[in-house]
């Protein structure tokens, strides 16, 4: 299945919005881009590598030749693309439980959005708007978002430790090594194959 590669899941959804409502959503995104509450929430969830919302106005679907039929749409469209770890159900459950207010502010402008709580109608809405991925690539398929963040902390700690202990007497090295272990011990989880079902 192309939606999944290693520990990453590629989700795509599309939903229609009345054009006047997209102005409000654009204003909301502008504010979030500058004050970051949605971004902070996504960082706290810590299982999303990359995500994006894209508003495509009804007149902005690319038309590259006169032979291409001209679209005549009434709605603007909100696309959502996400690269996350875990199962689809875990993802939507976490979104609904943790980011419900932010999600409501984003999708409430879409037609027939039922709200992100309770979760069952929200899942039905997502299923209806989901488009399957035909090809999915990730440069580090065996690593989750938490693995990536932990690996960078280990790299940074190791660089500091190697620099600090260069030419150090063995007795002092042992103490510094112990401190290094304490610092990285929580970040040494192993990457590898995803469990079945993710």
């Amino acid at each position: 299945m192309s939606n999944i590669h290693g520990k990453a899941y590629a989700m795509n959804t599309v939903s229609p919005m009345k054009p006047w409502k997209t102005y409000i959503l654009r204003l909301g995104f502008f504010v979030w881009n500058h004050y970051k509450p949605i971004g902070d929430g996504l960082v706290q969830l810590s299982f999303i590598h990359f995500a994006r919302w894209v508003i495509v106005p009804r007149y902005a679907f690319p038309r590259l030749s006169e032979q291409q039929p001209k679209d005549n749409l009434q709605y603007d469209y909100l696309f959502f693309f996400s690269n996350f770890n875990g199962t689809w159900n875990q993802y939507i459950d976490a979104f609904s439980a943790v980011l419900f207010s932010g999600l409501n502010l984003i999708w409430r402008w879409s037609e027939k959005f039922p709200g992100s709580v309770p979760v069952t109608p929200f899942k039905n809405f997502i299923v209806r708007g989901q488009v399957e991925t035909d090809y999915y690539y990730t440069a580090y398929p065996h690593a989750t978002t938490n693995d990536v963040k932990a690996a960078h902390r280990v790299q940074s700690a190791l660089d500091d430790f190697a620099k600090l202990t260069e030419g150090m007497p063995p007795a002092k090295f042992a103490d510094a090594y112990l401190q290094f272990l304490v610092k990285v011990q929580g970040d040494l989880g192993e990457t590898g194959e995803a469990p079945v079902g993710t």
């Binding site: 795509n12 708007g129 440069a139 932990a150 790299q155 190697a162 202990t165």
Partner: protein
């Protein structure tokens, strides 16, 4: 600019797909069938365009109708969606795509309206820019590390865990030379390739 978060660029492309009612295999199906044959690991096109963190290709057949009281409407073209998250700027990335993955790019986009080929890289870049749609809100959890830095860090993480495990209980007179040797090996080790699933095996060989 919402297309970027830190040093990561979020590219969104919508390329209209040709409509050929007389074709034995429709262009959209031809794209889908070809994509099924492409390797998803480092042997695929994005393994060679090595600053790609994650990318996807999606054939969008139509927009979605959610039911009354909204209006039912349809697209008059199908679209190929290309979504990519990569390091750096757009034009060098598209240039790399056209040169490092030229066969795959051609085999995919030849079914799209207005595609000029990849022989003329400038024309290809101009075409892709015409198909680009601006990202409205972009989120990257780690937005200050390149693909190479991340692959190196994952290798380091695995190697450090193995080193600690194998050197438990050693006296500092033995531990320090072992660490110096470990760092020498780690720094000279080949880096895991993008898309590779062999990180742990490489670390085992290293140690």
């Amino acid at each position: 600019m919402a297309n970027q978060s830190g040093s990561i660029y979020g590219l969104t492309i919508l390329s209209p797909i040709k409509d050929d009612p007389n074709a034995e295999i429709s262009p959209s199906l031809a794209i889908r069938m070809y994509l099924q044959t492409l390797p998803v690991d480092g042997g695929g096109p994005f393994g060679r365009v090595s600053n790609t963190h994650m990318a996807r290709l999606v054939v969008l057949d139509d927009v979605v109708y959610f039911g009354m009281p909204s209006c039912e409407e349809h697209l008059k073209s199908q679209y190929l969606i290309f979504e990519s998250n990569f390091d750096g700027e757009l034009e060098p990335y598209l240039t790399q795509l056209a040169t490092e993955a030229r066969d795959e790019v051609h085999n995919i986009w030849q079914h799209c309206i207005g595609y000029p080929g990849v022989q003329n890289v400038d024309a290809f870049i101009a075409y892709m820019k015409r198909c680009q749609v601006e990202t409205t809100f972009y989120f990257a959890d780690v937005n200050d590390k390149t693909v190479q830095q991340t692959l190196k860090a994952l290798q380091t993480q695995s190697a450090v865990a193995s080193f600690i495990e194998k050197n438990q209980g050693k006296r500092s007179e033995e531990l320090q030379p072992a660490f110096v040797e470990f760092m020498r090996r780690l720094n000279s080790a080949p880096r895991p390739k993008p898309g590779s699933t062999k990180g742990k095996e490489l670390t085992d060989e290293l140690l």
